[in-house]
Symmetry: D2
Subunit: 374 residues, 4 copies
């Protein structure tokens, strides 16, 4: 029943500075008392903790797809996939976040790689996840026994606490990206994990073109009468490129016809949504596909919360704060909180950008702010 | 500043009956006082007003499509369409509702008919509406300037207070059904109406295959990023038969494969929904398409609130309370509140039933009850 | 399996009028066909069914409290209370609604009267109800076994499907008003009813000052941690005059101090709310208490949906459409849909008005419109 | 337009361990490639990042009130309050969180201290805050010009982005606790801050017994009709001890009478709620007062997310994981995520515990799990 007596990690230093009490022996004595009792005054911390606007700890950064894929392929040759490590997934580590596998403070972004015939074992976790396929095909993700095909351009959300495994049914390796809220779950300490079967059954090794979830939920504006009510995450396990591409193309056509429907002239965008409530596919992640007509540019925009982008197709230039990069297929980059972002397609090709971010967290907590320069 | 002295419409009669006060001169005198003061006691009315369960004032009834169409065609020859009458729409009048044009106490159901080249003038009203096309094609509904094609199997919701007109661009007459919440709006006295242009402009006389609304909103699980938030009614103006048919077919396939996704074995059903919130397309009306495999039957079900059905395809037998009818394409019938309903497809053809009802009213007010006999 | 052949209630008459087809033998023949097939064209009905704005079927009307109470007392002497009649409740019958016991198309308003020692038997129904006490005391309403005191100024909501009985524990008769959504439930055909015990038990004959519901839920801004989530109706069974009066008085004080918190200068108003969601106490009825400072007037206001008012205290003048009445304690009057309403307190006394209306129905269905003349 | 070339913070080490690839020169080469490209594999991190259940980084810890107050008083003597430092607030630094001023990963808990006549300058920030007063009186918090008295037992929520200042109008120093979501806002990088006036105006130096917010919003079940709709945070700025105490006392009385209304026998609890929606007072923090009858114990409970408790009155024993402490008035302790908590009042006095936690974050994101041992 004694109070803990571990050596205190608190370290305080009296400094002469505006807004700080003048250094003095009494102040030093007070600070030693604070350290002993595990206390920290606001006045030494307020500048860092309560800035005038968000000052992201994360850096804007770009990862080149060819380098990611090369290292993933190298891992494919020497690192087996199996229970324990669970996945051959290699995460972006933001250079300003101390070497942790966090693309941003809240988001995990990784390239996953599966060799021909390989299986990633079944597990489930409360972290929400998705897959996005920038190239290739041949892998099926099996979710609660439902085998879901993965092909270029497809977006596959994976709500927390569903059993899932992957198997590569093709003769080629395949790479794709995984997005999860692992850093947020880690920070908020709300995560659960369970291992499932080491290998899914033969019946689930089927390679259907359409999953059961798509057959049940993949019809525009229609839902099965047997499934009523709003679900916190989407029951639709695949959003196919053919639909996304058409939606973007038609939005640009309407833009041409004078309909106000794009984010700015030449900048179409669709959001992947949960058909049971019209909101984001996952409670913690917003996912979108953007298309810029050749030569067109986005408005400059910043918002609370962070995003990760992957170039799906085309070439262009993107600006994140004071950084600027020429980008091409597969390249990935990070936009930290409250850092201005803009992009421009090259003069000759349209630019397709896949984006995911943590906006649903801020919207749910009434903390979302957006600023757009028009 | 005097109290109104119109002759009282109240009539009370003392009767000897259980739960009623014994007739007497004093009681008669009291009742005369009630009449004079415009008062009615609960004890004479409670049996009717507060029954043990809903006792619908409406009757179960069937209208044959060939008779509806024949009369509509006759009207097409002699009744012009224009401002004032507004629409050549002919409503089902439930035989138990005193000759009023109400299919049920809350729902309006009509056959509308437009001759080649005809235009129904533009107007808008707060009543919510939809069109459903059991056969034919060639008419476009123009909603806020967006021309929407109407073809067999298509469902076209029309939220209140949007401008709309119809024009028949074909060389044949066309008939379809209109569903509205006119009786409910009339009863609750909340309706507004405005006339628009007598004739829509030439630019709106286009006959596009896909409306602007479909190009913007008709993609499964996707929404334009430029349009956020939940809308009270769907922005998608057409739900095409090709999608509805496929959704039903796939639901039956899944049923065959053992997936629990139908309402009962062999009974698939999809609900038309608002992609911005996943709920019903209109605040006051639920709309669904049901498919029974050849020989299959629904469970017997009753619920608070009423429905109107139209046979879209196939043949079968339907039971509504103690009525039973053989039905075929286009036939329409009414299921009053709390009256048991079941249907069975004929042994050789599947039966497709379009259904609309007032369930959203009851759900919004926490007054929805459903009873299913399993 | 035959179609119903009851004589048709439909009656149609060709008339020469704008917007109507010209009378002719063919038209007469068409109309006979419509009658035979139970059909009614829109063009003969549209003016009535779809007016430019709501045209209430109900009339503005005033009932004087002394006349209500006198007749109720007379009923107290000669009409027993018991099973079957259930309650000695006498309802306002709007003079324009055909003698039906409806104050407005949706609302029931009645005076209920209980003699010393009398008991009104236990029952429950899905209709939502409340009691409001303009004078007197001595009756307890027993809700699911919880005895709730009724005294002048108290408001007692009673959500549907709760068991309830009344007993008069005093030596004097007592009158109060009941408000219910009986007409709406009757119209929408969603009502259920069950009889309970003929007489509540001795343990429930207690006459506590505070009910259990008040002890659990009657604390400002506090709720029991054991009861989480939003309930469709309030669990608090009594809103006491001491609280309502203070809230109104403090609102007028703040108004004096320059805070913008009243509906207009000198017009304070509080709404009775459900502490589990902050909304109306009942899913179908809004209830409020208004106070006008001596000489102050409300703005003129109209809205979709209807209201019933009772003068709680003071005197003044009220205007409903083109009617105007001097009013005093207990007087009740009706404001039909979309009819302008205003009130003014007499120069020397403040005017307290209790109001109930059907606005939650319209808000839930996105059909509420309000117009205020400033 | 070059990719960033800062030295990589990533450090990877091949180790021989279950679930890890066997160390080899190729693996080392791969890891060097990962480091160079700012990549981290899942397989080296999964055990830490994705545990079977939450493993809190925070420690259970207790701070004694007498030590807190003594150090705060010492600070009162030597540290001035003013612009820059903003507040004389001294935060609990969880011993396992590296000396940061975080009571838990998401919550800030501090003792604030104001000398007689002192003023804390006006500012506003998006972080949500509250004050809770364990003893003393004499300080007023001025929120948007509304002076709110602070006295023992009072709870004062302070939604983000409202201007606020404090002034001590008494002749004694006063201490209270502040709770904020500073760590969560810092982590999610969504915080904004603005300075206001250095000194509030004379008109706001009033010391009213009741604030304007209480007069407008502090009535049970009542809200001003002029303020409709749900607000994300409570507009009521003070929840007074007299109400909280009575609610707890009445809950225990009902418990005695056999009503199921406490969390377990002898354990009453009320939650401070937002009267506009019935939910938590602030979007990110849940606040409650618990009372254990003398000798009574809580059930053992754990949940995702963390809490901070302060003993308001009485004595008892609390257990947090494997720690156990005797506690008395003012003592504060931390319950980390998923660590079991229980408390027991001493045999002779009831124990009142004030609690705040981050549960609304988890509920909003559908990530709340609770486990109770019965």
């Amino acid at each position: 029943m004694a109070i803990d007596v571990t050596p205190s990690p608190v370290r305080l230093k009296a400094v002469a500075a505006p807004g700080q009490p003048d250094p003095s022996p009494e102040l030093e004595q007070l600070y030693r008392g604070f350290e002993r009792e595990l206390l920290v005054p606001l006045w030494t911390e307020i500048g860092d903790l309560m800035p005038l606007h968000p000052q992201s700890k994360a850096a804007a950064h770009l990862w080149r797809w060819d380098r990611l894929k090369e290292l993933a392929a190298q891992a494919g040759r020497i690192v087996p996939v199996g229970r324990g490590g669970e996945r051959r997934a290699i995460a972006l580590a933001n250079p300003a976040l101390g070497g942790k596998p966090y693309a941003t403070p809240t988001l995990w972004a990784a390239i996953q790689y599966l060799m021909p015939g390989e299986n990633a074992p079944e597990h489930r976790h409360t972290q929400h996840a998705f897959r996005f396929v920038v190239e290739g095909e041949g892998v099926w993700t099996v979710v609660n026994g439902d085998a879901v095909r993965m092909s270029r351009g497809d977006f596959l959300p994976q709500a927390g606490w569903n059993w899932h495994a992957h198997h590569n049914a093709a003769s080629e390796p395949m790479a794709w990206i995984d997005g999860l809220d692992i850093p947020f779950s880690y920070y908020t300490e709300s995560q659960f994990f369970e291992v499932g079967r080491d290998r899914i059954g033969a019946a689930e090794m089927t390679t259907p073109d359409r999953s059961r979830s798509e057959r049940l939920w993949g019809h525009p504006g229609l839902r099965p009468v047997s499934r009523t009510g709003a679900l916190p995450a989407t029951p639709l396990l695949a959003y196919r490129w053919v639909d996304t591409d058409r939606a973007l193309a038609e939005q640009l056509e309407l833009d041409d016809e004078g309909e106000t429907c794009t984010l700015s002239p030449g900048h179409a965008a669709v959001r992947f949504t949960n058909p049971t409530n019209g909101g984001d596919v996952l409670p913690t992640m917003r996912t979108e596909m953007h298309r810029l007509r050749a030569g067109a540019a986005t408005l400059t925009r910043r918002e609370t919360g962070s995003s990760v982008y992957q170039v799906f197709d085309g070439t262009g230039v993107v600006s994140v704060g004071d950084k600027q990069w020429d980008v091409a297929r597969g390249d990935m980059f990070v936009v930290p909180s409250w850092v201005p972002f803009s992009a421009q397609a090259s003069p000759t090709t349209q630019l397709d950008l896949f984006r995911f971010g943590d906006a649903p967290i801020f919207e749910a907590l009434h903390a979302h702010r957006v600023q757009i320069d028009r």
